[in-house]
């Protein structure tokens, strides 16, 4: 929206010079004063209030947190609450479980996905087209969550991190193949051919030429898949439920479900803060890369 710059030296083209100038002056006031104030107010009300409620309630005593509001705590129980969240909510076990399922899933789905995407992007013919369509159908189709449990029981992987890893890989393989295939098609094939003439085999070409070139799209796919897996509770509940592995989100769900018997909003929100923090910290440090990564993949 570049009604933007007030350039006094610029000649006014229209005959109604006064009208144009006054409308520009209005635009100037909007951009200099009103818009920034509006934006600040919007940030404070729309995002600030909900986040404030979580933060401030996590510092209150159980009695005061009984009915969560925006007021300051009369007595600070910040450390106390977070300590209880760590002990009763088993933060370390949850963090370990979250990483235990997320890291191998992401590495596996990116490696297998880009390997397949390279072939699918380079091979022509009807079979390749059909395989590509099948590979990306998971973009739209919902995972069959109930029979996943049945399958994992038959494979002896029910309630195990290994089962969870394979389920996540299956769920997000389509997104990865979709993004990476599109990207491979923009890489000139001549780069590969030069290496091929020099006698390089496919495995070598993939790992030394293709994979390094895929860095930006792999970053995008990694961010998205991490975001989904880290925040997932639905599939984790079905797959990991009843096992010894747990994740931060499953723990949060557990704590909040016991809320039926006692109002422990202070603990819930301490846990909300703890479980949200890792991604927020990563985001603060890599903000530009993350945003450009996500948008680069989405709008072509």
């Amino acid at each position: 929206m570049s009604t933007t710059t007030l350039r006094p030296s610029q000649p006014v083209r229209s005959g109604a010079a006064g009208a144009a100038r006054s409308s520009r002056r209005k635009a100037g006031a909007w951009h200099r004063l009103i818009q920034p104030l509006l934006v600040a107010a919007l940030c404070a009300v729309v995002v600030g209030i909900p986040l404030w409620l979580a933060l401030i309630t996590s510092a209150k005593s159980q009695g005061e947190a009984n009915l969560p509001d925006l007021s300051m705590p009369t007595q600070w129980h910040l450390l106390d609450n977070y300590q209880r969240a760590f002990s009763e909510g088993e933060v370390w076990r949850g963090l370990f479980g979250s990483l235990l399922v997320m890291v191998p899933s992401v590495v596996g789905v990116i490696l297998f996905g880009s390997l397949a995407a390279w072939i699918l992007a380079r091979r022509s013919g009807r079979l390749a087209a059909v395989l590509y369509a099948a590979a990306i159908s998971g973009l739209i189709l919902p995972p069959a969550v109930v029979t996943i449990v049945l399958l994992l029981r038959q494979l002896g992987l029910a309630s195990t991190p290994v089962g969870m890893i394979f389920i996540y890989m299956g769920m997000y393989m389509s997104i990865v193949i979709f993004f990476i295939t599109g990207f491979v098609r923009t890489i000139p094939i001549e780069l590969e051919e030069a290496a091929r003439i020099d006698g390089a085999r496919p495995v070598r070409i993939f790992f030394t030429i293709i994979l390094p070139l895929l860095r930006p799209v792999i970053a995008t796919a990694t961010i998205l898949v991490c975001l989904y897996i880290w925040n997932d509770v639905f599939y984790a509940f079905f797959v990991l439920g009843g096992g010894s592995t747990t994740t931060l989100q499953l723990n949060l769900f557990q704590i909040a479900s016991s809320n039926l018997y006692q109002n422990n909003w202070n603990l819930i929100f301490a846990y909300v803060v703890i479980s949200s923090l890792p991604l927020l910290v990563v985001f603060i440090f890599a903000q530009r890369k993350i945003i450009s990564g996500i948008t680069g993949g989405a709008v072509k």
Binding site: M1, R13, H31, Q35, V39, A40, L42, V46, V47, I49, P50, L51, L53, A54, P68, D69, G108, V109, L111, F112, G113, L115, A116, W118, I119, R123, S124, G138, I140, L141, P142, A144, V146, T147, I148, L150, L151, G170, M173, S174, P202, N231, V233, F234, F237, Q249, L252, F253, A256, F269, V272, S276, L279, L280, F283, I291, I294, T295, A298, V299
Partner: protein, 310 residues
């Protein structure tokens, strides 16, 4: 007389195609597809195939053997009305999220369009909810929207009267409130997609509109909005698919209540799975599969076509 030449050419072409396919087979071997398709086949497609089998059985937690029962599960879900209720709730919820998320995201993108320091800061702030889990967001809003909660307190302060709206206890409007909460969580993502779309609009097009004396509103309606078609496709499709398959936000705010008026398909599946009625849960999962199939392909197709026309 042209015939023999044409034939020879065609033969050459065919040989070329065969050669290139053979060359492709050695330079881009099909065995590289194996790991990805093995994982997809076993852990994604196989459970989907199972859906078509176990929806017609009496699989449950209460007995060890599994027998075919035909359409009994469908009949019982149709009979007690839960199938249509869940379908209706899911559809309304998905449509509301699709619309709200796009409207909020577009509004924010237009407001934060210029690259000022305030705007860059605001974009970061509005992206925070995207990174939080839907479960966490749901709990925050459950607390905010209690009858004696912060939202009513603020409204009371502004209006000077007592406000006791049961935001999450209304059998008609709570579904809209839950859709709002879900849109609140995701609007930051829609916003940055729209911002990226706005960046792709060439400056000279906007300059031309300005020279023609178009107002900001006209420029938006006639120039920006049509050129944002790809961003709208992406945002609407992801919002629709995400909310058809939604669970976390609903579970954390209302858990399907009041009186099952926010019970989307996945909440229903989650609950009856908890009761041990696995076959019924599978049947609902199959219903969800078909709902997405029937809805998503035409919607995505329509939006894509709209992009081409413009």
């Amino acid at each position: 007389m042209a015939h023999p030449i044409v034939d020879a050419e065609r033969q050459l072409q065919r040989r070329d195609a065969r050669m290139s396919e053979r060359r492709q087979a050695s330079s881009h071997p099909a065995r590289f597809l194996l790991p990805a398709f093995a994982v997809l086949g076993v852990f994604f497609f196989l459970p989907t195939v199972f859906n078509f089998i176990y929806a017609f059985t009496d699989w449950s937690a209460f007995k060890s053997d599994i027998n075919f029962v035909g359409f009994e599960n469908f009949a019982s879900l149709l009979g007690d009305g839960s199938l249509f209720t869940a379908l209706r709730v899911t559809l309304i919820y998905a449509a509301l999220v699709g619309i709200m998320q796009n409207v909020f995201g577009l509004g924010l993108a237009l407001l934060f369009e210029r690259d000022t320091r305030v705007n860059r800061f605001a974009r970061v702030i509005f992206f925070i909810p995207v990174l939080m889990s839907a479960l966490a967001v749901g709990y925050i809003f459950q607390a905010l929207l209690k009858p004696a909660g912060a939202v009513n307190e603020i409204l009371a302060l502004v209006s000077g009267q007592n406000v006791h709206i049961a935001w999450l206890g209304d059998t008609t409007w709570t579904l809209v409130v839950v859709a709002f909460v879900n849109s609140w969580k995701w609007m930051g993502l829609a916003m940055i997609i729209f911002l990226a779309g706005l960046k792709t609009i060439p400056e000279d097009v906007l300059e031309a509109a300005r020279m023609d004396g178009a107002s900001a509103w006209k420029t938006f309606l006639r120039v920006k909005f049509p050129l944002l078609a790809p961003a709208i496709t992406f945002n609407f499709a992801t919002a629709l698919l995400g909310s058809l398959n939604g669970f976390d936000t609903v579970q954390a705010t209302t858990a399907g209540g009041p009186a099952q008026t926010t019970e989307v398909l996945n909440i229903y599946i989650f609950q009856i799975f908890g009761y041990g009625l696995y076959a019924q849960a599978t049947t609902m999962s199959l219903v969800l599969f078909f709902l997405v199939l029937v809805l998503a392909f035409p919607v995505v197709g329509y939006l894509r076509k709209r992009e081409n026309v413009l």
